[in-house]
Subunit: 205 residues, 2 copies
């Protein structure tokens, strides 16, 4: 074995990696345990050593997806306080658009997909997913509120409401892009979302 195999439980990681990939592509129900096992090269007994059920694997995979989304997409845009708050939001739009372009309109939004598949069918997943969207929206709300405090957003705007709408707009755009396989729709929607910000914009735009 190579010296680099210091990894504490590489097997668990293998499983999670394969599961995330498959489930974000095919969904939770349509990804069988055997699919995951085949893709990760792990035996069944070994799987049940690390996870007590498929459900628990699902939860772990969800945590992994969230982490990836937060680290790769959300934080890079919102962590830099020197950037103007509305520009942080715009940066985020562009990043989501770019991600969609890179994936060739395949896969859609992992969180949106799971939300659509499981919200009405599995309360545990629903709650976790709702929490994710809330956290996501909170990041946007904060930036919008900051913009409002700086008077680059009008006082008639409710940052929380606007944040909901922006999340919804992005999710819907991703879905439409996924089903039509046409990235231009994503571009159009991001353009409209940016224009929507102008609706409340005061001062230099």
């Amino acid at each position: 074995m190579t010296s680099a195999t210091k990894t504490p439980n590489a097997t668990r990681e293998h499983i999670l990696h394969a599961a995330s990939r498959l489930m974000t592509l095919k969904g939770y129900h349509s990804t069988s345990l055997d699919d995951v096992l085949r893709a990760s090269g792990v035996g069944k007994g070994n799987f049940y050593y690390y996870f007590k059920s498929k459900e628990e694997l699902g939860y772990a995979m969800l945590d992994r997806i969230i982490l990836g989304f937060v680290e790769r997409t959300l934080e890079p845009c919102f962590s830099d306080g020197t950037v103007a708050p509305l520009d942080r939001v715009r940066c985020f739009f562009d990043r989501v658009l770019e991600a969609q372009r890179q994936r060739n309109c395949v896969g859609g939004c992992p969180m949106g997909n799971l939300a659509s598949e499981l919200s009405d069918v599995h309360e545990g997943f629903r709650q976790r997913l709702a929490e994710i969207f809330t956290r996501w929206r909170a990041r946007l709300t904060d930036a919008l509120a900051e913009a409002q405090a700086q008077e680059s957003l009008g006082p008639e705007c409710d940052p929380a409401v606007l944040a909901y709408f922006l999340v919804a707009g992005l999710e819907g755009a991703i879905l439409l892009t996924k089903v039509t396989k046409d990235i231009q729709i994503m571009e159009a929607c991001v353009g409209e979302l940016k224009a929507h910000l102008l609706l409340y914009t005061r001062g230099p735009r």
Copy 2:
């Protein structure tokens, strides 16, 4: 024969009715044939007399869903030419919101759900779903273009692009409402969508 409906093949209708209900709630893959059979009280042999596969049932169910959506939601708003075009659009928003309220945030958008579940996994369904969204958007585009011709929408607005965005906004709003089970989010998003129209609105609003 009764004057109203002769019930040409009631069994087929029973199956379709049960299938639509179950599949819009639980999704295509998670609805088994036995589920449909149990719910409709139809035997298996009988089922395969009317449908040659589950896939074909899915297509038929999709057609049924579309028809219902068009007849119950789309047409009532857009068929009346005497209503101002932008009011037709607003009426449509309200109708979608109302539908969501009546269903207690359960189920989401049948077409959106199927799009999310099947777009990357079943090309046949993807194409049909893409076509639906296109037709839906076309209805909006026409109304918006008419508004533009009447100069109640500014010339800088691209009706096709705006229509995409409105569909995306609605789909995203329904998804967010489904996962959070909070109708207020739907209301907020519809409010923002209406506000978005104002962005391009000229003349008396």
